[in-house]
């Protein structure tokens, strides 16, 4: 794991897996499991956004001088996703299947095209511009993960 693309890209896939499990549990109206799975998915997403917003984006912005470009759009899409996640949390708490599945379908589209832009453009570019800073950034992101889990 020595590129940002590898590290955060595989985190996307881990989030996708949790998403699919939570959605499958809701589809089966298995609400106890759904609440648990969704909780894990939501936490993983929150952690992923935090890594990007507090570590990667600031580093990218200071290296490139671009603080209004790509990272701003990414932050905006994070806000949209957080909002959908909040809606899904309400739906899972209220055991409202229709509402959850409508929101999850929407989130999936938004999340996938967001991840695509990051994996195709932002991450490879960060790998290029960060140079020597890259290793320490990845270590910092890994460390933030182990803190979260305690």
């Amino acid at each position: 794991m020595n590129t940002i693309l590898d590290f955060l890209g595989s985190d996307h896939h881990a989030c996708d897996d949790l998403f699919a499990s939570a959605e499958a549990a809701v589809a089966q109206k298995n609400w106890d499991s759904a609440r648990e799975q969704f909780g894990r998915f939501q936490a993983a997403m929150a952690h992923h956004f935090t890594m990007e917003e507090t570590l990667l984006f600031p580093a990218f912005e200071s290296r490139t001088g671009m603080s209004t470009g790509p990272t701003q759009v990414m932050r905006m899409e994070h806000a949209q996703m957080r909002d959908l996640l909040q809606g899904m949390q309400d739906a899972v708490a209220a055991a409202n299947q229709n509402s959850f599945l409508g929101l999850s379908e929407t989130l999936n589209m938004l999340m996938q095209q967001h991840n695509l832009k990051e994996e195709n453009m932002l991450y490879p570019m960060s790998d290029r511009v960060l140079g020597s800073e890259r290793e320490s950034l990845i270590r910092a992101m890994q460390a933030s993960g182990s803190q979260d889990e305690t």
Binding site: A20, A24, Q86, D90, L110, N120
Partner: protein, 426 residues
């Protein structure tokens, strides 16, 4: 540091930009269906004016209409590179594609040189503008398997249009290109395989894993498949000057490449993580099944010359490929793209919270999409009988028209909900 080429996170173009293409396309599907229903006798051979007119209503008016709109929307996301002068390009190419397709259809139906002439000019303008813009965007694009597929598809489209223009000038009586039969063959194979199929291949690399959360296509396949198919098409077009054995090998490899794509797609979809019922998935599966059937029908023709020379064979092949494969995949894609864009623009315009606006799933009623899928399926089955019993054309055309009308109503309902919740369409 200046913004490097290829990195663009500009916000998506406004809702009406791709939607004008998507909302026009079903109208040409209706036109094709009416031609089928009105003139079943003309469906006995591929060279009748009606068949040529309805073929282009489908390939230009329906398929290319949706694909151009979708590419304008997608290139910024997958390639990080929007089309230059996007709004102007969209306006010009949309209007000229609508009028040009109608003129070319009129040319086929009436044989009037003036209609062919206006078709050639209008379609020439449409694709010149689109292709220059698309090439500019693709030249700056971030490399990847999808962009690679789209590049070959755009090349295929360019050759198709050039050959189509030459053939139309020939029909208008203005110019006699050499090697007419080879030119027609090349026009058809670059149009259907080079453009339509390669575009579906390139887009599939992206959307098949994304919609249903499947594993990615194996890189060993996705890296070379589009380029290999394109090279084989070039050889296929050169078949008249190749030794017969070589031409056979080229054809066999083409068929194998297509089947490989189908097998990979169906296999990935069977391993999907999201198992909820999904109309788009059903459309993809119908499309893939039809593609297998197309290859099968074609293989039989290679082995059995009497079948290859029959009137029914090219009609059956065309129905399976255009109606069963391409139209199905495109229709299924519309049911993801349009609801998502409706939600996306509504959210962005209103800065609304998730609970206060409809979700993507509320944009088009599930039952209506299902119903339309069934109509489309019935229309496909009936159409397959038409080459053998042309009188079936009345029923087949009728059901196809109904299916296209319901598709149109469904797409409009997403726009209606968008506007009803306070979205600004223009």
């Amino acid at each position: 540091m200046s913004q490097p080429a290829g990195l663009s996170f500009e916000q998506a173009p406004q809702f009406s930009l791709p939607l004008r293409f998507f909302l026009t396309a079903p109208l040409f599907l209706i036109a094709a269906a009416i031609l089928i229903a009105l003139s079943p006798d003309a469906l006995a051979s591929r060279w009748t004016p009606q068949v040529l007119a309805l073929t282009h209503a489908l390939t230009l008016g329906f398929l290319a209409m949706v694909m151009l709109g979708a590419l304008m929307q997608m290139l910024p996301v997958v390639a990080g590179s929007p089309l230059p002068a996007l709004h102007l390009v969209a306006r010009i190419s949309h209007v000229s594609l609508v009028l040009g397709t109608a003129a070319l259809m009129t040319g086929f139906l009436t044989g009037k040189a003036a209609a062919y002439g206006s078709g050639v000019v209008l379609l020439g303008v449409c694709f010149a503008v689109f292709l220059v813009a698309a090439a500019t965007s693709l030249a700056r694009a971030v490399a990847g398997v999808t962009v690679n597929g789209i590049r070959f598809a755009v090349l295929g489209l360019t050759l198709t249009i050039l050959l189509g223009v030459a053939l139309a000038l020939l029909r208008a009586g203005w110019w006699t290109p050499p090697a007419i039969e080879s030119a027609i063959n090349a026009h058809v194979s670059f149009g259907l395989v080079g453009w339509v199929l390669l575009l579906v291949v390139g887009v599939a690399y992206q959307v098949v894993p994304m919609f249903q959360l499947t594993p990615p296509y194996p890189p060993r396949l996705s890296r070379w498949l589009a380029g290999a198919l394109f090279a084989l098409l070039l050889l296929h077009a050169a078949a008249p000057v190749l030794p017969p054995v070589a031409a056979r090998i080229v054809d066999a490899l083409l068929a194998a490449g297509i089947l490989l794509f189908v097998a990979a797609t169906l296999h990935l979809q069977s391993r999907r993580r999201r198992k909820l019922p999904d109309v788009t998935l059903d459309y993809w599966r119908l499309g893939m099944a039809s593609l297998i059937a197309s290859v099968a029908v074609w293989i039989v023709a290679q082995a059995w010359p009497a079948w290859a020379d029959s009137d029914a064979y090219p009609l059956l092949l065309g129905t399976l490929f255009i109606g069963g494969f391409a139209a199905s995949v495109v229709n299924g894609m519309l049911y993801k793209i349009v609801p998502f864009l409706a939600w996306f623009h509504l959210q962005a315009q209103l800065q609304a919270t998730a609970g206060s606006i409809p979700t993507m799933k509320d944009m088009i009623a599930e039952r209506w999409m299902r119903g339309q899928f069934r109509l489309h399926l019935i229309a496909c089955v009936l159409l397959l009988g038409v080459p053998f019993w042309p009188q079936l054309g009345i029923a087949a055309g009728g059901v196809l028209a109904l299916s296209a009308v319901v598709l149109w109503i469904n797409l409009l309902s997403a726009v209606r909900r968008f506007i009803a919740h306070g979205g600004d369409f223009y």
